[in-house]
């Protein structure tokens, strides 16, 4: 921002130099006015032949911008097409060009430019042409690297399949998407080119004596340096501040582009304590909230909400509103929903890991008798490592590629349980055996890349189990795996839960996975739990139209003709959620009553339902669908 404003001033001064300059930049107004100090007539004094430094400085901005622009244009004109070409086609042309590029880049840019000037001859235009040729190597290399990445994008394959020629693919599909990186690099090169101009002109092979460039001014100042250093200071500062401004501006651009590309970053936020709003508990005895019949709950969540600041506004948008959830000891509870329902955010909030700008609040999150809300960070991270184990969707994102799996499984044992190296290794082998990794004694020293996806997810499970957690949070644990591998991993999680009496909170979008593993289910839609109850009951006779819609929309392995049943419309974005029933706009059973106010989670025939018509609707479950 500051850099941009400064550069704008430089550009304006350069454009208006003939109007702004009080004196001629090349001729002394009076020949005896040599080496004057700044005065009202000569704002910045005069140089050794009596020329006005302020006027020369203003015209110098012209030469600086011209020199920078020339070098950058030359660099882009050579580098971009060359980089596109070798990046797109690769092969031997790429190999040859890259060796040349590497050779040129290995020599300091200004020395290389001087060598080229020796061939081209001196003068500002020729000097900057030489600088541009040197910089084109940098642009070539950058463009090639960016094209390599863009070349792998599916839309490039799509364009080829659509019949686009190589030229069209390069310029229409690849180039616009590598442009941000090029723009940033160009800005930084512009700054370097101004420095190069100053350097070359100072050496006398750049700007001529009648060209008032900043580098030339420095050269002239050097002639009278034994009498006064003043004439060197204004052009020196001008070069310095302009280059800094370009760099600041370039970094700003880089950040702006990066912000656009950045997805949700996982930061850490505490869960704030807040009393639940009355609607959430209306008519629901607290011990029944979440529909748990478990007399011995390991996890109880009350009134959990998560809000994010909405981009471009000062408002917060709630993405999870007032979740109540219970998980009994040894019980597998599935939190089911589509993307955007808030199921993963709910799980992260329980862990105290709310994605960065998000704000989580809850009246209570109890884990086996201890209150997690308001717990100090160190204590909470200890609980995360010991009492709660976590399995995420991508096994390879959860494993560090630089360490052996044994070391990663042993780390919580050593850190949290204080085991000796030997004891931790022995326990790690036991854990790897428990999660079904064949030959654990030798596999313990293998690196993650030596494992298949299913095997790597077993290693992650071993890490999660290391400290004997009371609760395992499994967020889409099998979604990234092949279907025949998925079955074995579900078996593993089920076995572990039974054998260790461990509770599991399973987060998934796949109702089949739920049916395989869960004892109880909580269905989420648009930030709310809309129905909970025992697995068998909820799937056999759903009490909320959304649950029915989900069950019916799944393609199952049955012969059928005609369309699949669908839920019309789209999941609304959090800022579009109404105050009344969130599902009303997509529900085929909607009435006036559904839109008259917020709907509470109330007891239903099979558990709890957030539907005002739950009792009168006879909704279809899995059985009717199968027949």
């Amino acid at each position: 921002m500051v850099g941009g404003v400064y550069l704008l001033v430089v550009v304006i001064v350069a454009l208006l130099a003939p109007l702004l300059a009080p004196h001629d930049e090349n001729l002394a107004t009076r020949f005896q006015d040599i080496l004057f100090n700044p005065s009202s007539e000569y704002w910045l004094g005069t140089d050794h032949v009596g020329r006005d430094i302020a006027s020369r400085l203003m015209f110098g901005a012209r030469y600086a911008l011209f020199a920078g622009a020339e070098a950058v244009v030359v660099a882009l004109a050579i580098g971009v097409p060359l980089g596109l070409l070798i990046g797109y086609f690769r092969g031997w042309v790429d190999a040859v060009v890259m060796r040349i590029v590497e050779t040129v880049v290995a020599v300091p840019a200004i020395v290389m430019a001087m060598a080229i000037i020796a061939g081209l001859g001196v003068g500002l235009t020729k000097a900057m042409l030489a600088v541009g040729i040197v910089y084109s190597m940098v642009i070539t290399r950058l463009t090639r690297a960016e094209v390599f990445a863009a070349r792998e994008e599916l839309y490039v394959d799509g364009a080829i399949a659509a019949g686009a020629s190589s030229i069209r693919v390069m310029f229409r599909h690849v180039l616009p998407n590598v442009a941000p990186a090029l723009i940033v690099q160009t800005t930084l090169l512009f700054a370097q080119a101004i420095l190069a101009e100053a350097g070359l002109s100072f050496l006398g092979i750049g700007a001529g004596s009648d060209q008032a460039s900043w580098g030339r001014m420095l050269r002239d100042a050097q002639l009278s340096i034994d009498r006064t250093i003043w004439p060197a200071i204004p052009p020196g500062l001008a070069v310095f501040s302009t280059v800094v401004a370009f760099n600041v501006f370039g970094d700003g651009l880089r950040d702006a582009f990066a912000r656009e590309a950045r997805g949700g970053r996982i930061g850490v936020g505490d869960v704030q304590r807040r009393e639940a709003r009355p609607i959430d508990n209306e008519g629901v005895p607290v011990q029944e909230a979440g529909g748990s019949s478990a007399s011995d709950p390991v996890l109880t969540v009350r009134g959990l909400s998560v809000a994010f600041p909405r981009l471009g506004t000062d408002d917060d948008v709630e993405v999870v509103s007032g979740i109540d959830l219970d998980v009994g000891r040894g019980e597998v509870v599935a939190l089911v929903g589509e993307s955007g329902s808030g199921k993963s955010i709910t799980a992260l909030s329980i862990l105290g890991l709310v994605p960065d700008p998000g704000q989580a609040s809850a009246s209570s999150i109890m884990l086996d008798g201890s209150e997690l809300v308001g717990m100090p960070f160190e204590q909470l991270s200890r609980i995360r490592g010991t009492d709660i184990g976590v399995i995420f969707q991508e096994p390879f994102a959860a494993l560090n590629p630089a360490h052996t799996v044994g070391r990663q499984v042993a780390e919580p044992l050593r850190y949290h349980l204080g085991m000796s190296r030997a004891a931790a290794r022995a326990r790690t082998i036991e854990l790897l055996a428990e999660v079904g990794i064949p030959d654990p004694e030798s596999r313990i020293d293998a690196y993650p890349h030596e494992f298949s996806g299913g095997m790597a997810q077993r290693v992650v499970a071993a890490m999660a189990l290391a400290c004997g957690p009371k609760l395992l949070i499994a967020d889409e644990p099998t979604t990234a795996l092949d279907v025949t591998v998925q079955g074995q991993l579900l078996d593993l999680i089920g076995d572990l839960a039974r054998r260790r009496s461990m509770s599991v909170l399973l987060i998934t979008h796949d109702l089949g996975v739920v049916a395989d593993l869960a004892d109880r289910v909580a269905v989420m839609y648009a930030g709310q739990v809309v129905e909970t109850g025992c697995l068998e009951d909820v799937f056999a006779s759903p009490q909320h139209p959304y649950t029915e819609g989900l069950i019916r929309a799944i393609p199952r392995n049955v012969s059928r003709s005609g369309d699949l049943p669908t839920i019309p419309g789209l999941v609304p974005s959090p800022w579009e959620w109404p105050d009344h029933c969130h599902f009303a706009d997509r529900c085929e059973h909607v009435t006036q009553e559904c839109r008259s106010g917020a709907v509470a989670l109330t007891p239903s025939a099979t558990g709890l339902s957030r539907c005002v018509r739950a009792e009168e609707l006879a909704l279809k479950g899995v059985r009717e669908e199968a027949s």
Partner: protein, 347 residues
Amino acid sequence: MSLLEVSDLSVVFPGGRGTLPWQRLPNVRAVQGANLSIRASESVGLVGESGSGKTTLGRAILRLLHPTEGTIRLGDFDVTGFGRRTPRAYRKAVQVVFQDPVGSLNPAMTVRDIVAEPLRLNMGLQGAALDDRSAELMGLVGLEAHHLERYPYEFSGGQRQRIAIARALATTPELLVLDEPVSALDVSTQSQVINLLERLQRETDAAYLFIAHDLAVVRHVCQRIAVMYHSRIVETGPADAICDDPAHPYTALLIASIPDPDPAVQREKTSRRRALGRGVAGATGAPPVDACPFAARCPHVMDICHTSFPTPIATAAGGEVACHLHTTGPMLGGRPLSELDPDTDEA
């Protein structure tokens, strides 16, 4: 007369450099000896797990890579005989929809540019005719003409997939390669797009090659199914026969592995799945070239399975199966696997 005829197709990717400069990694056989035919207006499902080679086969048909051996013919086109340039007419005849609705649309182009690109390049449409056809295509996939002025990021996953479908249908192709077109979508959106694809096939008469890992989805869309495992097509046949009464042990395992939302059905499937699988999935490396790739996990494995890949034979249901159980072992001779061991199979 079939529209697409793939014969003995193999795709081998050269192994890259190893950690040390003189190390060479072994070549990767992505597809080996694949035979596949699709009749005009027919939809054929190509099912397999990640790394099975199903996407590679699709990309060979799309001319996004060059097969190592074998031939591909589409109508009068000798696809494997094309030179460096792919004829426009072929590009017109074969179009594609990819899995990832985010990555498959150029973020720097408007929907109008995306949808109009094949029209402009292959049909030479311009001006009002181009605008009319673009708007018509949007209507066909259930979007509005005013959506043409927007950028891909303004749409949800399901809508983006509709845009990709509109682009693919622009040239009224004879064959549409659908590479996991619904697997990145949510359940409620997925069923909408499946219904759309089925309706479009009735309306446009395009043949579909529907590549997916989810057999239940494929069964809804396709008349015939080919099952791939580790670079080999192990079984083909009519969709209902494959899904209800498979002849190959891998197909049987695959079917038992699709989880069902009915807890009672799922309990049955779980026990069947345990009986049909052997060993820990993913624990072994790539199988030897001349073996049945499923041998390491097959509950019916015989000695011969480790030394030779079986010759495919015709099944009773009208497809083909490549399994020694049919040719050398119990001599099932193409009858369903359920006849071998009625307790563990039958879907």
